[in-house]
Symmetry: C2
Subunit: 464 residues, 2 copies
Amino acid sequence: MINKNVMKNKRVGIIGAGPSGLAQIRAFEALKDQGYVMPEIICFEKQENWGGMWNYSWRTGVGKYGEPIHGSMYKYLWSNGPKECLEFSDYSFDEHFKKPISSYPPRPVLFDYIQGRIKKSNAREYIRFDTTVRWVSFDEETQKFSVVLDDLKIDKTYTEELDFLVVASGHFSTPNMPYFKGIENFPGTVMHAHDFRGADQFIDRNVLIIGSSYSAEDIGVQCYKHGSKSVTLSYRSNPIGIDWPEGIKELPLVTHFEDDTAFFKDGTTEKYDAVIMCTGYKHKFPFLPDELRLKTKNNLFPDQLYKGIFFNQLPQLIYLGMQDQYYTFNMFDAQAWVARDFMMDRLELPSEAERRFDMDRWLKKNNELESSIDNVDFQSDYIKDLLALSDYPHFSVDKVAEMFKEWLLDKEEDILTYRDKTYQSVVTGTMAAQHHTDWMDELDDSKERYLYAAEEEEFIPERI
Amino acid sequence: MINKNVMKNKRVGIIGAGPSGLAQIRAFEALKDQGYVMPEIICFEKQENWGGMWNYSWRTGVGKYGEPIHGSMYKYLWSNGPKECLEFSDYSFDEHFKKPISSYPPRPVLFDYIQGRIKKSNAREYIRFDTTVRWVSFDEETQKFSVVLDDLKIDKTYTEELDFLVVASGHFSTPNMPYFKGIENFPGTVMHAHDFRGADQFIDRNVLIIGSSYSAEDIGVQCYKHGSKSVTLSYRSNPIGIDWPEGIKELPLVTHFEDDTAFFKDGTTEKYDAVIMCTGYKHKFPFLPDELRLKTKNNLFPDQLYKGIFFNQLPQLIYLGMQDQYYTFNMFDAQAWVARDFMMDRLELPSEAERRFDMDRWLKKNNELESSIDNVDFQSDYIKDLLALSDYPHFSVDKVAEMFKEWLLDKEEDILTYRDKTYQSVVTGTMAAQHHTDWMDELDDSKERYLYAAEEEEFIPERI
């Protein structure tokens, strides 16, 4: 007989109310609906609202209360992968929007979707907003975490004792910003992608973007779309290498700057008005003692985490979403459900040595990956491994993997039109709608325009 | 007989190696030279070099290791008060530069001066660079502070037990950034003065500066000097009200923005390319539990601090430089010498109630201040009060006060030429040199140009 009472008097702390933290809350709620007694759940969120990265803020640097800004989100961000690859398997896009929508919605639409699921429950009651974690310690004797919190609104610190600690604070918030000789005398704007809030201020400007990651690609294309005079992407090892439209080009790495001139490895020199460093992020957990810190580069299988979740030396310490990501919302869900089952005593972990053995197997596979397609397959296998461990509603991971591979080709074929493609949901089977406007022609990213504009559009003779 | 051995085995922690923290180290060194046994002194500095605000960084947002950037320093910053008002009384400008220099040197020259004094000793050995304080607690039983440190370079946390804690982390690092309706859709650059790194990116732009403090005045004038198309200063209560040159004007507070248009209280509307918020800073001590935090607005006598230094409920907790400042380096010195004497058992503090009484007296006076001249007199009285308590070399505070008052008039008379005036040192009696170039014509703020250019200048016929 299942003991539905096992979590009585246990306390779970969740750091962050973004997609991962909310997934954890949702996972508990799902069991509550089955009659289980819940532990006490407290979620600490630094921002004044939930949504994590999807909660857009105009602010940069530090926020209202002087805490480092979490968000790296910018205006005019549209999903850069098909929404069918991230769909919650327990809350479909159809359920939320009541009609088919396109495969690449803009940020406010995805934010709306994330909120839709969590608003069905009382999740908000678990969350303490404007609350930042200052310091965590773990008491070996009591086997409890002691967490120092700072209630930013009333400038008050206090401590909570917890049995489990879920770190869901993300890893796209702390910029990695390398130094290039002479950058200190560059007269124009110098910023990291973290502080980019939209292309408007770069209209008619010559923009240099350093990096060849998704940020570089997306910010570069946005600047082009919104009217920058020119966009140069500078790569360290390999160019993105697709067929760029006129106005965007790739050059090898900058060696140094002299005034407003950038010097590149191949001898090219060019003048710029702005430099945007899309040079990645650091996993940073200033609130944890270093022996509990996940120390990793951004990759598909961070060391130290069993099943990519449990801190191996102390599995009561749980990390969500710390992987580099193809899968996003649905991966956080799959992780959160497994984490929940461990916390609820529904899942027993093997010994530390066995866990280490399992981790090493994954790490070895991870080290052998060569192409983006390998990466997709690796993360798909990882998701399958997780799905087998919990009752998170299964979905066809293989079909999602296929979509990712198509998406990779779409982007390579035409970076300006791939967002006009449509995909089929693995949750509902629904085919995405063709959007009312081609992505390149759509400068308005509001939810209202996205969801309703087409229906209200005036009579357009050409369409007859 | 004086017991020169009293500090044996005592440990002092200093947070920050800026002008205040370095003053504290210098104060101890001065007694060491008299044969006293020093306590163990450890200074924790988040940046990779000393100098605090005077250690310029091109970075904004967060630094190399993801910590919030301390500095609000910008290129082309020249002292905005006569250097004779901040001169160390134990290390004159003459001693450092070996020749008279002008009264308003640029940042690199003042930075050089600060370093000159401290380089005479082994101060660097006390300082742990790239080290940030995570959390402080105080043990009532042992009467010791427990300080959690984070060695950013090696990503390692550790704890130190200390008898005294000197908080010298400044209060011009955490921006106060108010929200104005519509600012989230302003298409141009939006930044706080904290992130301003020089006027270069605002050449030919229409710049809106919100604020009427020293930052607003100085950043506005710099933008004007370096070629902004127009500068508007927007004030909340009172305009700076001086006779601005054509190209700078003052308007009342912004009510809201629509796209790139700002709406002002008086009905004016105007379009801008950039908004710089010179809206002040917050006293912020995230590493302290709130019962040990100084909670104050920026003013000349923060409550909670006896003699503006000792946290009244726990005088082993010392704050330096937390006042709004007319006096700067010499005030930090005067405070550090008094703090040192308390820590070295050379100065006994009265009872908590007597201290409270003294503080209330100062607070009452502070509340009655009306004009800038009143403020200067208040802070001069405060400095005199401190000087009477220690052996910091006395200087004529009255003469410095007179200089401050002249300076206020100079600025009012002509904001563009006040930096060409000269003053006389109260430490050495030396009259400042007339600088080789008028401030408005000097676009190069390097130490080399400042100190040596005149001597190397080519033959200029007009000067004959």
